[in-house]
């Protein structure tokens, strides 16, 4: 079953074509990687899916239902969680309270929302930091907090925007294990934007490569890293994976 369908999506900003005629599908239960050089339009695509921008043309279907005219909160309620590349913690709130905001979407009672939040914080290794102010967290922890908040909304599809950037390899492996477990045990579908190829190769079953707002290649990780166009514009000749 296809969970998310992006069809001929285009978006321009003052004449700059950020995304041009992009189409791809995300089958339920899969992990799809979105890669490409800086400025390729990856985050713009996320913002189009999450409802931050309205597309100039094209459509986004989630569970066969068009969502490109909905607001971000409606899209979240429909079952799409997202993280921000430039992390946006609720700085003045504690780590637990940050996650509680997300948990309140499906759990209206404070006690149930709290239980869900604590469980997610444990999963992401933030359990001991739950009473700290979010502003006191290091960048890797803030990225984890982004993930925790999004997970607390109990999404069917999770959009991860460069959550591994800045993590040490061991931390990166830890969080990769968390996503793999969520994907395996709960059937969570994930689309991730990532520059850390180690993580993409470890997680993604399919990869879509963007360049100048257009899809230049797609396929399994093995196919993509051998693709000439991808090697030229993004990965470079010496990429080791």
């Amino acid at each position: 079953m296809v969970l998310l369908e992006v069809e001929s999506l285009s978006k321009s900003f003052r004449g700059l074509r950020a995304v041009q005629n992009v189409s791809f599908e995300v089958p339920a239960g899969e992990i799809v990687g979105l890669i490409g050089p800086n400025g390729a339009g990856k985050t713009t695509i996320f913002n189009l899916i999450a409802g931050v921008y309205a597309p100039d043309s094209g459509s986004v279907l989630f569970q066969k239902r068009p969502i490109h005219a909905l607001r971000p909160d409606q899209i979240c309620a429909a079952g799409i969680g997202r993280t921000f590349q430039n992390v946006k913690p609720f700085a003045g709130l504690s780590v637990l309270d940050n996650v509680l905001v997300g948990a309140f979407l499906r759990e209206k009672a404070p006690s149930a929302a709290r239980a869900l939040s604590l469980q997610i914080l444990e999963k992401l290794g933030l359990g001991t930091k739950r009473d700290q102010l979010a502003s006191s967290l290091t960048l890797p922890d803030r990225k984890r907090l982004e993930v925790a908040r999004a997970l607390a909304t109990r999404p069917k599809l999770l959009l991860l925007d460069e959550v591994m950037a800045g993590l040490r390899p061991t931390e990166c492996d830890q969080i990769v294990a968390v996503f793999r477990e969520l994907n395996r045990a709960e059937g969570l579908t994930i689309v991730l934007i990532e520059h850390v190829m180690r993580a993409v190769m470890a997680l993604a079953g399919r990869i879509v490569v963007l360049h100048h707002g257009e899809v230049i290649a797609r396929g399994t990780p093995e196919e993509v890293v051998r693709d000439k166009a991808v090697l030229e514009c993004y990965l470079g000749e010496e990429t080791e994976v």
């Binding site: 979240c76 946006k88 003045g92 997300g102 309140f104 404070p110 929302a113």
Partner: protein, 335 residues
């Protein structure tokens, strides 16, 4: 429900609150008429500060026009009483309705059309100014010549018509302030409270977590306006006269937000501490000057200015957060 309200509140905090309440309850028995009036003012500012704090401190929406809700609330109940002899307890229903509607109109205009930040603040000033000028020409409430409530010497307190001694008004205001405190405490622990804080901290992130920004900002404005209207009703029946030039004036809006700013924006206790500090010290200052035989006009304003300056420079989060840490009443005090 009471257990839910008390959950997680440090024992020391509860004990101190109980002591404070006892002190405030006993205050009229040993206070002079003047001190009682000061006490009333402190409670009044603590209450309106708490109401304003819902919008700014919780939901992050800066209102510089809260005198609008004080004024509309005051005029609605007072006019019904003067013209039709309607009890203020019934009239306050009209006050709440009028203020909630005014808040909803301002909120709708701002949030529907993406007016935020300082532009939102300007919009709130504009509406308060409309009201000030409009009420100057509103003859049903006597326009600029002022609306007066009938005053007589009362031998007994008439609580139903809010005619009576300053002591009665003091207790009424105390009840409102205590009620607002409990209400805000409960709101902060609710889903709505968390959504407000999230909107204050980062609207984009809040929206991405499923928070309907328009709806929750609207609720914040309407609740804050409705609460403020009650202060207006008490104000009208306490002072017995209303002038548009005074009650809707921007200086009144500024005056009522200083308490929570000095005390600590977004905190529950901040509005109380701020009101106590500002009103208490300003009045004390006046007394001191009088005792010293110095008569300088504007001393109170200068004092406000100095207080604000000091707090902004040295206590950017207000007086309460560091005080709470010193008293070990903050969250970390439990560890």
């Amino acid at each position: 429900m009471i257990r839910g309200l008390l959950e997680g509140v440090p024992r020391r905090g509860l004990a101190m609150l109980a002591a404070l309440l006892a002190l405030l309850l006993a205050f009229p028995f040993f206070a002079s008429g003047y001190l009682l009036a000061v006490g009333f003012l402190i409670l009044y500012f603590a209450y309106v500060g708490q109401a304003w704090n819902i919008m700014m401190g919780f939901a992050g929406q800066l209102s510089l026009g809260h005198s609008l809700y004080v004024g509309l609330g005051a005029y609605a109940a007072a006019a019904l009483y003067v013209h039709f002899g309607v009890s203020p307890w019934v009239g306050l229903g009209a006050s709440i309705a009028v203020c909630a509607a005014a808040g909803a109109v301002i909120g709708f205009l701002a949030f529907r059309f993406g007016v935020g930040g300082v532009y939102f603040a300007i919009l709130t000033i504009a509406f308060a100014e409309f009201a000030r000028i409009g009420f100057d020409h509103f003859t049903w409430v006597r326009g600029s010549s002022g609306l007066f409530l009938p005053v007589a010497n009362y031998t007994e307190n008439d609580l139903w018509n809010l005619r009576g001694s300053p002591r009665m008004f003091y207790y009424l205001m105390l009840g409102l302030t205590a009620g607002a405190f409990v209400l805000c405490h409960a709101l902060l622990r609710s889903r709505m409270g968390y959504y407000w804080l999230a909107i204050r901290e980062s609207p984009e992130a809040a929206q991405a977590l499923g928070v309907n920004l328009f709806r929750y900002k609207m609720v914040a404005v309407v609740v804050s306006a409705a609460m403020t209207s009650l202060a207006g009703v008490v104000f009208a029946f306490y002072y017995n006269n209303l002038f548009p030039e005074q009650i809707f004036h921007i200086s009144r809006s500024i005056e009522l937000i200083l308490g929570p700013i000095i005390g600590g924006i977004g905190t529950l206790v901040g509005p109380l501490v701020g009101a106590l500090l500002l009103t208490g010290l300003a009045e004390g200052m006046g007394e001191l000057m009088l005792a010293l035989g110095v008569d300088i006009p504007g001393v109170k304003q200068v004092f406000y200015g100095i207080c604000l300056l000091l707090v902004v420079m040295f206590l950017p989060d207000g007086v309460w957060p560091p005080l709470a840490r010193a008293l070990r009443l903050d969250r970390k005090g439990k560890d």
